[in-house]
């Protein structure tokens, strides 16, 4: 287990809504880590995850896990997803509608391990829903089933493709805890795709920043997002929803990950590279923020 370092060196040409792009990733990931792949949509995060899972074939390169070669274009090796011993969690759950919660979780096990299944159901608060069909569950419950199902075969890797993006903020927080719990119980190397910065800070031991198909940074979230950029005292990330022109300056409306609305002023030089929908960091260096107990 300790030697199961993932070594990735893959290239694939992607044609997306944003045009042609070459995804080119070289990195090794140590065993047991929880790595969040962060970047804008279309940056290639999901494709990278699918290549590790064997659901998408790279054009070139190698994927090695410990001593095992999962993919090698040079040697003509492409291990099918069935043999890769992974747990994959899809954004839209992908539960089997014809099976009960229990049977969904048990599906991936080669030899039925009832004790482990019961333990998983218990851990994810699913025991009382064991006999229900997925259609009778809420989004959060469905994703819990998907997590339990992926863990049931004790995979070497957990690959989670934006598992929480379809859920409300409240449920998202509680599921982030479940993911952390799942990771600490199994100590499985976990790769999670996200485009939510708050999520990165909650979950990631390491973050892999992906932009236009390339790795732009790999390390602790603090190092990647904060120390390298500014030494601010107050930092909030959010999305610009409105840019208004005042007399000599601009007024930006920014919605944060916690659905807080912030109004910020900006000058013409700042506004040049900003448009509505951009993700921005609102920070302040020059004063000490005040704290009030809520």
């Amino acid at each position: 287990m300790e030697n199961d370092i993932i070594e990735l060196d893959v290239q694939k040409e992607l044609v997306s809504a944003y045009g042609r792009m070459v995804l080119s990733i070289q990195i090794s990931i140590s065993a047991g880590e929880l790595v969040v792949l962060f970047g804008e949509s279309g940056a290639g995060k999901t494709t990278l995850l699918r290549m590790i899972a064997g659901l998408t074939t790279p054009d070139n390169g190698t994927i090695k896990v410990g001593d095992e070669v999962w993919f090698s274009s040079a040697r003509g090796i492409n291990m099918p997803p069935q043999k890769r011993n992974i747990g994959f969690v899809f954004q839209d759950y992908a539960l089997f509608p014809n099976m009960s919660v229990y049977n969904n979780v048990a599906y991936g096990q080669k030899d039925r391990d009832k004790i482990f299944i019961d333990e998983l159901l218990q851990n994810f608060g699913l025991t009382e829903f064991a006999n229900r069909k997925p259609e009778k569950l809420s989004g959060g419950q469905k994703q819990r089933v998907a997590l339990a199902r992926a863990l049931a075969r004790k995979p070497k890797f957990m690959l989670l493709d934006e598992p929480l993006s379809a859920l409300d903020a409240g449920i998202r927080t509680s599921l982030q805890n479940e993911i952390l719990k799942a990771h600490s119980i199994s100590n499985t190397t976990t790769l999670l795709v996200s485009h939510d910065l708050a999520e990165v800070f909650r979950l990631a031991q390491k973050v892999m920043l992906i932009q236009d198909g390339k790795i732009k940074g790999f390390g602790r979230p603090d190092d990647i997002f904060i120390n390298n950029q500014i030494s601010g005292k107050v930092q909030i990330t959010g999305t610009i929803v409105k840019i208004e022109t005042q007399d000599t300056f601009y007024l930006l409306t920014v919605v944060t990950g916690m659905n807080q609305i912030i109004k910020v002023t900006a000058f013409e030089s700042d506004i040049a590279e900003l448009t509505e929908g951009d993700r921005v960091m609102v920070f302040s260096k020059a004063f000490n923020p005040l704290v009030m107990k809520l």
């Binding site: 659901l55 899809f90 014809n98 075969r153």
Partner: protein
């Protein structure tokens, strides 16, 4: 010895059951292939499978009859190696009926399979399950309405088949004389009572089967499947 009426109905039912069973075995893998495989000549295969829907039965019946003849390699092979003559026999109309009913089995199944979200298959693969296991445990259970539609449509269509049976099988009591042929025959002989007996039986059977299909598909989009 049962009455000719019962004998004809039994023969009709036997033909429909055999055809449907054979087509289920052929149709499942063929539909899987048509739904998911990507290859250059796929439209050609799709067109071939759908041909019986647009061609007059007499055209297909004619070609099948030609194929059965000892002058053609297929007929020659059968008669020389197996001593089998297919023209004007039950086996002959069974094979013709299988060929002619392919689209009624394959089209609903293919549409059903295509409608299953791709990530259900992928989820199953990532859980270590083979394509075969995925097919039987994930795909088939999730296309039940399509499966029932395909079986019932094929069955109903076989019961009502006329032209191709007449071409390939003729009108031999107990061998190739199915209900639809019998109606034609009785009308020719001016036996309208007997014709009516057959006609009503066919009418009711088809009505019951179609009602069953639409009941099963009430929740899903039945028109799309057929």
């Amino acid at each position: 010895m049962p009455s000719p009426f019962i004998q004809t109905l039994i023969l009709t039912g036997k033909l429909a059951i055999y055809t449907t069973s054979i087509l289920l075995v052929i149709g499942l893998p063929l539909s899987y292939f048509m739904a998911y495989a990507r290859f250059r000549f796929k439209p050609v295969l799709e067109a071939l499978v759908s041909m019986p829907l647009v061609l007059p039965p007499s055209v297909i019946g004619y070609y099948i009859l030609v194929a059965y003849s000892p002058n053609f390699w297929f007929g020659k092979l059968l008669s020389e190696w197996f001593d089998v003559q297919l023209a004007f026999t039950f086996e002959g109309i069974l094979l013709a009926s299988v060929v002619f009913s392919i689209p009624f089995m394959v089209q609903p199944l293919t549409n059903g399979l295509r409608a299953v979200p791709v990530n259900l298959r992928e989820a199953s693969y990532t859980l270590g399950k083979s394509k075969t296991t995925t097919f039987f445990r994930v795909l088939i259970p999730n296309i039940k309405p399509s499966l029932i539609t395909a079986i019932a449509l094929t069955f109903a269509h076989c019961i009502g088949e006329f032209g191709i049976i007449l071409m390939v099988g003729g009108n031999m009591p107990g061998e190739t004389r199915v209900a639809s042929i019998a109606i034609y025959d009785e009308v020719q002989a001016l036996n309208f009572d007997a014709a009516n007996q057959y006609a009503l039986t066919l009418f009711l059977t088809s009505f019951v089967i179609l009602t069953l299909i639409y009941t099963v598909n009430r929740k899903s989009d039945a028109w799309k499947m057929i």
